[in-house]
Assembly symmetry: C2
Homo-oligomer: 209 residues x 2
Amino acid sequence: MAVREVKQERAARTRAALIRAAAEVFAESGFAGASVSRIAERAGLTLGAVYFHFKSKEELAREIVTSQPDLVVPPQDSHGLQHAIDVTLTWAYQLLDDPVLQAGARLVMDQEHFVPKSENSHQQWMSILLRDFRDAQVRRELRLGVDVEAYARLVVSACTGAQMQAQLETSRSDLPYRVEEVWRCLLPAVAVPSAAKKMQFGRERGVAE
Amino acid sequence: MAVREVKQERAARTRAALIRAAAEVFAESGFAGASVSRIAERAGLTLGAVYFHFKSKEELAREIVTSQPDLVVPPQDSHGLQHAIDVTLTWAYQLLDDPVLQAGARLVMDQEHFVPKSENSHQQWMSILLRDFRDAQVRRELRLGVDVEAYARLVVSACTGAQMQAQLETSRSDLPYRVEEVWRCLLPAVAVPSAAKKMQFGRERGVAE
DNA sequence: GTCAAGAAAAAAACTATTCTTTATCTTAGT
DNA sequence: ACTAAGATAAAGAATAGTTTTTTTCTTGAC
């Protein structure tokens, strides 16, 4: 071949290790508080390795923030309201031991410095939940006249806030419970009673068995 | 006098200027991202002045975070649900141009490093809202069987989250609207219809005329 | 299998800035 | 004028992010 397009497999592993290490350190200390040396050290590598794969600390963080929503895939395939619930619950459970999601949560505020506004994580979650709520509306699960955009925003806000509270008070361990609580508070206002009654929560909704 | 207890008025002004400058810089860049030199510079003072009044950068931040709830005093004196609404709206309006509140919002996650868990800002807001909800319960404004703790937590989470979204998307300017939206979504679930109808929103609830 | 070329990573160097402390000067009260 | 408080200016030691140089590893051609 004329042009070399060599991708070594070792390089891929190194890159993954760096992203994971960076996520851990970002999750602990935020963007400014995390140092590139500490990231390299955590990955068992050196500064040179970092700057070979990423052109700056910002790019490393951007990579982590923008990859968020793809990481959360609910085990069941559900629709409408139940899908909205499943996504948030999956997110909550997965956050418990996925450093990349944890970093995403910690970098929420920092991202304005290195992520284009249209790709920030809030917008991403908003569009997912909005789709679910509209779907729910078509399925006649929602009460008449509910403002779907308002409720989608509220769910995103509430989950973000719940994550922070959980982090401060129980180092995140009860986040899934808090998310479930959010829904139990909200359902009476959004859903028609018959639909509300059908909704399923619990661990099996967020984690594949 | 035997013991000197001299507090110069210049010192008080300097201290206030430092806190304000620190709040501005913390609000822009978070804890780790803010440098003490920049804080001093912003206040029109020097490093020595900072370290004369505060023994470390952490103490400066702690001072700002723990003074939060006292800063928010609704203009009207209301009770029960309406008071809960008033507090959150006042907070939202005041946040628009109070750097200390802005810093408090930005330091939410950082505070775990320098604020004792029992004094973190979430707990402070929780106890205020919890008191209001219990009060509302006594006044028969709430629907039967609502979990007041859950709803108090939800309001705090939702406001925290709303603040972040507002920051990312409109540099905070529509935060009051978003907070009002939170309540409109929530009221049907918490309040009995007669009480919900009576609730008042709008600018006059958050800002003295 | 050998070997050279390029990719991947390590090691080291650079400049700037970090937080904090020290020594020095200025201001205010008695 | 004397003393202590309040502030400046300067310095120190560590670490920041990034770039450059050097070494090690991987790959494909012979």
